[in-house]
Symmetry: C2
Subunit: 395 residues, 2 copies
């Protein structure tokens, strides 16, 4: 435990727990979490799916099951990928308790203390924390508005023999940035021939509201002959069905999968079988694509309201990204201003966000912050942003 506490001390202080706690306080306007808008949860459809599964297949749904996951759900995920141009075989899919578990399993299988791990800078806080418990050496790669820096990636692959490169190419958490198609193909070619495993996290890919779907890096690797043996692609139902049900998956090639399945079995035997069947039934019977289209339209309105509020309420020296999808935008304050101090003052006024430094492994990003636009409706976004701007003005 001494070592573990030491490991934790080296990881940024956890905002996630505070965020989750604030999420259950109804008096706080939270732009902090990565919460979907509950107004769009398919409650009645899931109730009907639960009734159908339990009345038809209750005994199997409540019994122990295989580690890999419910086969028809794995087939359904493969089918949904195919409809978007991504080729994945059902047997290359492992069902998880949320895609976060994929990070833990990948870390457990691949990271030994001192190993090099490449992350985008900034990167997803909970991934940094999860990997951090296995004591890697983080190498942060700069992001620009088109994706990761290819020269920095190439140099790091050449000099560090990193175990993993962790990337979020669609509407990145926290920055909202997406890789261009050219950058995806360059990333694929840069990875070719290396022993580094690509961990491509795609929780938001189906929530694109501007532009057209772009191929995953994994797909680029398949198309340009780089090979997908060392590519792990993570997906989730958290953003398009329900995060509370904790249902995600990973895609991996045969050799990597073998190790990940053993790690999954040791971690919790298998994922919730009842939940897997409920979501499968829901996917088969409901108009899921129509539902996702409604989420996309609503989130675009919410994103437009938030971007508009930044321009309307804040002075010109405060800038933000304008994401093409997902749930977050990234605000940059003038140099020398502290987003952490802004956070504390805002929390006192019952508005929350996540200070940007939490997303950097090198302590930078002091003047940046992440704002979530998916959880609140337009009126709440406008009220919260106006309140935030008053806190800012008082600084």
């Amino acid at each position: 435990m001494v070592n573990f506490a030491h490991r934790m001390a080296s990881v940024h202080r956890s905002f996630i727990r505070e965020i989750l706690k604030a999420a259950v306080d109804p008096t706080i306007i939270s732009f902090a979490g990565g919460l979907p808008n509950p107004r769009f949860f398919p409650v009645r459809e899931l109730e009907e799916a639960a009734r159908s599964v339990l009345s038809r297949d209750g005994d199997s749904a409540l019994q122990y099951a295989t580690t890999e996951g419910y086969p028809p759900l794995r087939e359904k995920i493969a089918e949904r990928y195919a409809a978007r141009g991504t080729k994945v075989a059902p047997e290359d899919i492992l069902i998880l308790n949320g895609s976060q578990q994929g990070l833990d399993l990948v870390a457990k299988v691949f990271i030994d203390a001192g190993d090099s791990v490449l992350v985008e800078s900034p990167s997803y806080l909970a991934a940094i924390q999860c990997f951090g418990l296995f004591e890697p050496h983080f190498r942060a790669l700069p992001l620009d508005t088109g994706g990761v820096s290819i020269p920095a990636l190439t140099e790091a692959l050449r000099t560090e023999s990193p175990k993993l490169f962790y990337a979020i190419p669609n509407f990145q958490n926290p920055s909202g940035i997406s890789y261009t198609e050219a950058r995806r193909r360059e990333t694929s070619r840069a990875m070719a021939g290396s022993t580094t495993v690509l961990v491509e996290d795609d929780p938001y890919g189906e929530i694109r509201f501007i532009g057209r779907d772009l191929p995953s890096i994994r797909t680029c690797m398949a198309e340009d002959g780089s090979g997908t043996e060392r590519a792990v692609l993570l997906g989730t139902f958290s953003k398009i069905v329900s995060p509370g049900m904790r249902l995600g998956w990973l895609c991996a090639g045969k050799d990597v999968m073998e190790n990940l399945v053993v790690a999954k079995q040791a971690a919790d035997l298998h994922s919730n079988e009842l939940t897997q069947r409920i979501v499968h039934r829901y996917l088969c019977s409901a108009d899921v694509d129509g539902y996702i289209a409604r989420i996309r339209a609503a989130y675009k309105r919410q994103r437009d309201a938030m971007v508009g509020a930044v321009h309307a309420f804040f002075p010109k020296e405060v800038s933000c990204t304008e994401p093409e999808g997902g749930m977050f935008l990234w605000m940059t304050l003038p140099n020398g201003m502290s987003a952490l101090s802004f956070f504390e003052k805002a929390l006192a006024q019952k508005v929350t966000f996540v200070p940007g430094s939490a997303f950097f492994t090198d302590g930078s990003g002091e003047n940046t912050l992440r704002l979530n636009f998916s959880n609140c409706d337009v009126a709440t976004i406008e009220a919260g942003m106006e309140r935030l701007s008053r806190v800012y003005a008082a600084m």
Copy 2:
């Protein structure tokens, strides 16, 4: 991955995955898994609970939630403990994806490569595998029919400064053995003053069908002043509600809990919120104790049938334990006979069990095997045991 594969090679070959796969083949009589009898699953009650939760609290049940777990469920677990004489505060309870996850979290927090870990000999296969991935040095402590050997435990605590002692005092998996009350109190006193964490796994405690409930070792530690700060108690709904829902918990003191919550958050953020609320609703509205009483009575009949079949169909040199509860009995073949070879011949005749050597960290137990009596009804048990005895006779 090279290191990980190496770690796996040092762990016994996984029977669990084979067992889970065999469990979905209806032509095999399986005495292998730890599967409850699906005939007793409270399917309709859970369907009603799911309907109630989704129609009343759908938005919260489907949203992200706190890492520690659904507070009313934690209170309910504490209340159920209290009714059985065990004092646990709700805030000392962390909800897990099945109690197996508790083993993974405890291992992640406490075990560094080379650390000493004490296990009963034999011990739970999936715990050995789970701990094994963190590369400890296992020290196996002999079990007799009254529990772990106190001289061996005392000696190991004194000479090895082990990180963990992993014990299953009720109807142990795989042996079916229970600690006597005296042995529980001796274990508590032996642990007093050591820095070793007791991991007390109690998946079967509520399925006692002979004799009276005995205090947990943790309770003995509280009563004799040894202190419970370094005691972790694991529990599960897998045996009394449904294993497919993957819902368990751990109880721990404040300092240990802090570390375990961080590890849980990194592993998967939180447990399935919908499932937690469904099980909570079920516990509040159904006659759970009446239900457990029916399971106990049925499992006793099934256990009696299996013990009876051992005596009726096998020669005298084959012996078995006669457990007071739980799901398993332990068969010992004459010295020099191979249970692994018996397993292969039995599988060819479509009957399965788990060869005992899988449960030992030192390669012993070649002539032992574990038989599950909970999953099959009496007629199937009799048919399967008769078939097994024919395979045995042919050897």
